[in-house]
C-alpha cells in the first residue's frame, strides 16, 4: 500500500521573510507616493479655483 498524500513542503522562513520585507517596502513607497499625490492634487485644485 502506498501513501498517496504528497510529502509536506518544509516551511521556508527565509522566503517568508523576503516576501514580507518586499511587500512592506512596496507598501511604504506606495503610501509615500500617495501622500505626495494627494498633496499635489490639493495644490492643483487650489490653483484651479
Amino acid at each position: 500500500m502506498t501513501d498517496e498524500t504528497p510529502p509536506e513542503q518544509p516551511f521556508d522562513e527565509a522566503e517568508y521573510r523576503r516576501r514580507q520585507r518586499s511587500r512592506a517596502n512596496l507598501m511604504g513607497w506606495m503610501l509615500g507616493g500617495l501622500a505626495l499625490l494627494f498633496f499635489f492634487i490639493t495644490l492643483a485644485r487650489m490653483v484651479g479655483k
Partner: protein, 303 residues
Amino acid sequence: MAQSLTHGEPALPADWRDLFALTKPRVMSLVVFTALCGLLAAPGSVHPVLAFSSILAIALGAGASGALNQWYEAGLDAKMKRTAGRPLPAGRLDPQTALHFGVGLAAFSVFLMLFAANWQAALLLTISILFYVFVYTMWLKPRTPQNIVIGGAAGAFPPMIGWVAATGSLAPLPVLLFLLIFLWTPPHFWALALFVRSDYAAAGIPMMPVVAGETSTRRQILVYSLIMAVGAIAPWPLGYTGSLYGWTAVVLSAVFVLLSIQVGTRTTGQDDRMQPEKRLFAYSIAYLFILFGAVVADHWWPL
C-alpha cells in the same frame, strides 16, 4: 511571526508580482492609452497633476476589474492552457487575498477619481467596474456566445471616462469613441477565440467558435469589421474630427477589413497554424492604438 510559525502551516504572503499580474497589465495598457486619448482630445486644458491622477484612477479601476475577474474565473482559468499559469489557478495566491485586493483597489480607484476629477467621472468609472465584473464576468461570459458583443461595452468606457474627467460632461465624440471600441471588440476577440478555441471548449465557455462553429464566427468577424470600419470613419464626416483622423481611419480600417476578409472567407485544414487569425488579432491591437493616437493628433494639429 515566531508564534505563527509554531501554529501548523502559515501561508506565504502573496508576492507583489502575483498581485500585479492579477491586474492584467497588458489589458491595462490599452485601457490607459484610450483613456489618455479621451482626456487629451477633450476641449480645454486639465492641470497635469489632475490629468495624471485621473488616468491613474482609470488604470487602478481596470486593474481591480481584472483582479475580480481572475478571482471569479480561477476555476475556469485552471482548465485553459493560456491561463493556467495565472497566480490563482497556479496556486501562488489564495482567493481571499485576490478578492480583498480587487475590492480594495476598486474602491480606492473611485475615491481617487472623485478627489482628482469630478463625480461624473467617478460614477462612470464605478459603472464600468460593476459592468465588467457583474454583467460581463458573472452573467454574460458563462451563458451566451454574445458575451463579447455586450461585454465589449466594459472595455469601451475608458475614453469616455477620460473625456468626462477633463470636462465634467459627455459629448458626441467620446460616445463615438465608445462605439468604436464596442464594435472593435467582437472581431478582435473572435480572432483570438478562433486560435485558442480548444482552450475555451475545455473550460466550457460558450465563445462563438465553440457554440456557433468556425464558419459562422468567421462570417461574423467580417460583418462586425465592416460595421466597425463605418463606426471608425464616422467622426470625420460628422464633423467631430478633421481629415488627419479621417484619412488615418480610412486607411487603417481598409486594412482591417482586408485582413477580416482573409479570415472570414477561409476554411482551416489539418495542422493549420491560423496565421491570418493571429495576424488580424495582432493588427487589431495596433489599429486601436494608432486610431486613438490620431484622435489626439487631429485635435492638437488639425489639418
